[in-house]
C-alpha cells in the first residue's frame, strides 16, 4: 500500500457567482521514501494541491470530492483534532519564502520547542536537545547559540535550513516542499536542495517537491506530475517524461528551457497564457494554446492513456499510439 494515495480529488472555491474548480480529478500516490516532483506554471494548482493534502485549504476553498488516503485513512474526512495529530507530526511542509515562514517575534528555539511540544509530552530541556540535534543535521554552526536568536538575525539560507530542521523535528513520513529554493540566492539554492535530498534519503522520508523548475525536478525526483489548470495532464517516471514528453504542454515546457535552444537563439515559448479559473475552455484546458488541437479536444476532456510507463491525458497522444499499433499490425 502506498503511504499517501490521492484519489480523484476535487477542490473548489466558493466565490460570488458559483464555484470555481481549482483541482479536478487529481490522483497520484506517494510511497515511503519516494521523491515526487510536481511541476506546472503559477496558478496551475500546485500549492492548492499541497495544502489540500493536509486538508488546510483556506476559505472559501473546500474539498468537493475524492479521497486523500494517508496510511489508508482519509484525511478529507478526518476531524480537526485527528488532523492536528498528523500535521507537522507525520506530514511536514516547507514553504517558499524563509523570510516569511518563521515568526519574527519568537526565537528559533521557542518555535522549535513549541513545535515538538505540540505533539509530544516531553520536557523543554529534552525538546531543546532534539532541536539542537536537528539544527546540527542541517549543518548549522553552533546550534545552541542559534536557539536564542531571532529569525532576523539569520541569513536567508540559514533560515531555510532552520525551516528544514523544523520540518524534520518530529521525524515525519512525508515532507511537502512548496518551492523551497525559489526565494534563495542561486548559489544557495543548490546547497539547500542537496541538503534536503540528503536528509530525506538518510531518514527515508518521502518528499513531494513542488516547483516550476524542471531542472530541479529532473535531478531530484523519481516520478513527476505535470499540472495544468488544476488537472494532472501527465505523470510517470521523471526520466521518461523529461527524455520523451508525451503531452504537447510538457513538450513545450521542456523546449522552453534555455538549455534546449541554440546559443544566441530566441528561447521557445508556448503561445498564450494559462486560462484563469473563471474561464477554463471546454474540453482539454490546453486546447487554445495547442497546435494539435482538434474539435474533439475542444469538446471533451481526454482520458488518461498509457504511453510506456507514463499516463497522459491527450487525444493527440491517443491518436499517435493508435497509429503506431496499426502500423505494427500492418507490417508484422
Amino acid at each position: 500500500m502506498a503511504l499517501l494515495e490521492v484519489k480523484n480529488l476535487d477542490v473548489r472555491f466558493a466565490v460570488r457567482g458559483g464555484d470555481l474548480t481549482a483541482l479536478r480529478g487529481i490522483s497520484f500516490s506517494l510511497d515511503k521514501g519516494e521523491r515526487l516532483g510536481l511541476v506546472g506554471e503559477s496558478g496551475a494548482g500546485k500549492s492548492v494541491a499541497a495544502f489540500s493534502i493536509l486538508n488546510l485549504i483556506a476559505q472559501p476553498g473546500y474539498i468537493a470530492g475524492g479521497q486523500i488516503l494517508f496510511e489508508g485513512k482519509d484525511l478529507a474526512a478526518m476531524s480537526e483534532r485527528e488532523l492536528r495529530k498528523i500535521r507537522g507530526n507525520r506530514i511536514a511542509m516547507i514553504f517558499q519564502d524563509p523570510m516569511m515562514t518563521l515568526n519574527p517575534v519568537l526565537t528559533i528555539g521557542t518555535q522549535m520547542v513549541e513545535a515538538i511540544k505540540a505533539h509530544r509530552r516531553i520536557s523543554t530541556k529534552d525538546a531543546r536537545a532534539i532541536a539542537v540535534d536537528k539544527l546540527r543535521k542541517v549543518q548549522i554552526p553552533s546550534p545552541e547559540k542559534r536557539l536564542d536568536q531571532y529569525p532576523h538575525e539569520l541569513s536567508g539560507g540559514m533560515r531555510q535550513r532552520v525551516i528544514i530542521a523544523i520540518a524534520l523535528l518530529l521525524d515525519p513520513e512525508i515532507i511537502i516542499a512548496d518551492e523551497p529554493t525559489t526565494a534563495l540566492d542561486v548559489t544557495i539554492q543548490a546547497e539547500i536542495m542537496a541538503l534536503l535530498l540528503d536528509l530525506c534519503e538518510q531518514e527515508n522520508v518521502a518528499l513531494m517537491l513542488i516547483t516550476h523548475d524542471l531542472g530541479v525536478v529532473s535531478q531530484v525526483s523519481q516520478r513527476m506530475l505535470v499540472m495544468y489548470s488544476g488537472r494532472i495532464i501527465e505523470q510517470g517516471p521523471t526520466r521518461e517524461i523529461i527524455n520523451d514528453a508525451q503531452h504537447p504542454y510538457t513538450q513545450g515546457l521542456i523546449n522552453a528551457l534555455p538549455q534546449m535552444g541554440e546559443p544566441g537563439a530566441r528561447l521557445f515559448q508556448i503561445p498564450g497564457a494559462m486560462p484563469s479559473l473563471k474561464n477554463v475552455p471546454s474540453g482539454c484546458p490546453f486546447n487554445p494554446r495547442c497546435s494539435f488541437a482538434t474539435d474533439e479536444c475542444r469538446r471533451t476532456m481526454p482520458e488518461y492513456v498509457r504511453a510506456g510507463n507514463v499516463d497522459v491525458a491527450c487525444y493527440e497522444v491517443e491518436r499517435l499510439i493508435a497509429q503506431e499499433q496499426q502500423a505494427r499490425e500492418v507490417t508484422p
Partner: protein, 310 residues
C-alpha cells in the same frame, strides 16, 4: 542564568527602540517627568507632608492659605491649602496617585477586552467578526462620557454617596475601561487581518498548532506595537475622562480626591481669589497628560512598521 540576563540587557541596549530614545530629547524629557510623577505618586505616603485622607489632621482654620511666596502663606503648606484646610502638596500627590491608578487600570481593562475581541474578530472572521465589530460600532456611537455619566449617576443613586465613595475608583476603572475597548479592538483586528495572511501563520497551521495557540502565541506578539502606541495615548485619555467625570461630580469623592475632583473643589473658590486650589492640580494634570501623549507620539514614530522593519 547570568549570561541570559546579560544578553537581555545587551539586546535592549542594542535595540532600535533604545537608540532612537537616546536621540530624542523630547522623549527623554517626557520620560523623566513621567517617571518622577509616577514615582512620587507611588511613594506619596512617604513624600507627602500630611495625610489628606486623615480628617483628624485637618484644621479648618488653615483653609485657603496661599502658596509660599505670597502674603499670608504658612511655611508648613508649601503649595497652600484648599477650602477644607488640606495641604495642597499632599492632596496633589495623592490625587496624582488616584488619577494614575484609574488611567492604568482602565487601560489594562480596555486592553484585555480589546485584545481578546480584536483577536477573535480578526482571526475567526465571518459571523464572529461581524457581531463583535457591530457591538463595537454601537458602543463607539455613544460618547464615553455619556455612558459614564448615566452609569455613574445610577450607581450613585442606588448605592448612596458614602458607599459610592468607597467603590468609586473601581467603578471609574470599569466604566472607562469598558467604554473605550472598541478603540483597541479595532486596532488589534486590523493588524490581525494583516498578520494572518502571512506565511508564518500557514506554517503554524501546518505544524498542527491549535487555533488558540496560533492566535495568542503567534499572532498577538506581532500586533503588540500598535497596541502599545494606542495604550499609551489611552492612558492619557482615561485620566482626562476621569478628570472630566470628577469635575462633573460623578468621579472620585472629595474625601479621596483625584486631580479632577481637586480642580472641581477649587472651582467654587476661584472667584474669591483662591486660584491655586484649581490651578495647581490643573497644571499637574496638563503636564501628566502632555508627557504621556508626547511619549505616545514618540512610540508611534518608532514603532510604525512602515518606517521601521522589525
Amino acid at each position: 542564568m547570568m549570561t541570559a540576563t546579560v544578553s537581555r540587557w545587551a539586546r535592549v541596549r542594542d535595540s532600535f527602540l533604545w537608540y532612537s530614545f537616546k536621540r530624542d530629547k523630547v522623549a527623554i524629557a517626557s520620560f523623566i517627568v513621567l517617571l518622577a510623577m509616577v514615582l512620587s505618586a507611588i511613594f506619596a505616603p512617604l513624600l507627602a507632608p500630611t495625610d489628606p485622607y486623615d480628617l483628624a489632621l485637618i484644621d479648618i482654620m488653615n483653609s485657603e492659605l496661599p502658596p509660599v511666596g505670597m502674603s499670608g502663606a504658612d511655611g508648613a503648606f508649601p503649595l497652600g491649602t484648599d477650602a477644607q484646610g488640606r495641604d495642597m502638596l499632599s492632596t496633589i500627590l495623592y490625587g496624582t496617585r488616584v488619577s494614575l491608578m484609574i488611567g492604568f487600570g482602565a487601560v489594562i481593562l480596555q486592553a484585555a477586552l480589546g485584545i481578546m475581541f480584536g483577536l477573535l474578530a480578526g482571526y475567526l472572521g465571518g459571523r464572529v467578526d461581524a457581531i463583535l465589530m457591530r457591538i463595537a460600532d454601537v458602543q463607539l456611537s455613544f460618547s464615553t462620557l455619556m455612558v459614564a455619566i448615566i452609569v455613574g449617576a445610577v450607581f450613585k443613586a442606588s448605592f448612596g454617596s458614602l458607599m459610592f465613595g468607597e467603590i468609586a475608583i473601581y467603578m471609574l476603572i470599569f466604566i472607562i475601561g469598558v467604554a473605550e475597548w472598541p478603540q483597541i479592538a479595532r486596532t488589534v483586528r486590523a493588524s490581525v487581518l494583516a498578520e494572518k495572511k502571512k506565511e508564518y501563520v500557514d506554517a503554524a497551521k501546518v505544524m498542527g498548532f491549535r487555533t488558540n495557540r496560533i492566535m495568542f502565541r503567534h499572532i498577538l506578539p506581532n500586533t503588540l506595537s500598535p497596541i502599545f502606541v494606542i495604550g499609551t495615548v489611552q492612558i492619557a485619555n482615561a485620566i482626562i475622562s476621569e478628570a472630566a467625570l470628577s469635575f462633573l461630580g460623578l468621579g472620585m469623592p472629595e474625601t479621596q480626591p483625584s486631580l479632577g475632583s481637586l480642580i472641581k473643589s477649587g472651582f467654587d473658590y476661584i472667584q474669591s481669589g483662591s486660584w491655586w486650589i484649581t490651578l495647581l492640580p490643573g497644571l499637574v494634570l496638563v503636564v501628566l497628560v502632555l508627557v504621556i501623549n508626547l511619549l505616545g507620539d514618540w512610540l508611534r514614530d518608532v514603532m510604525n512598521p512602515r518606517l521601521y522593519k522589525g
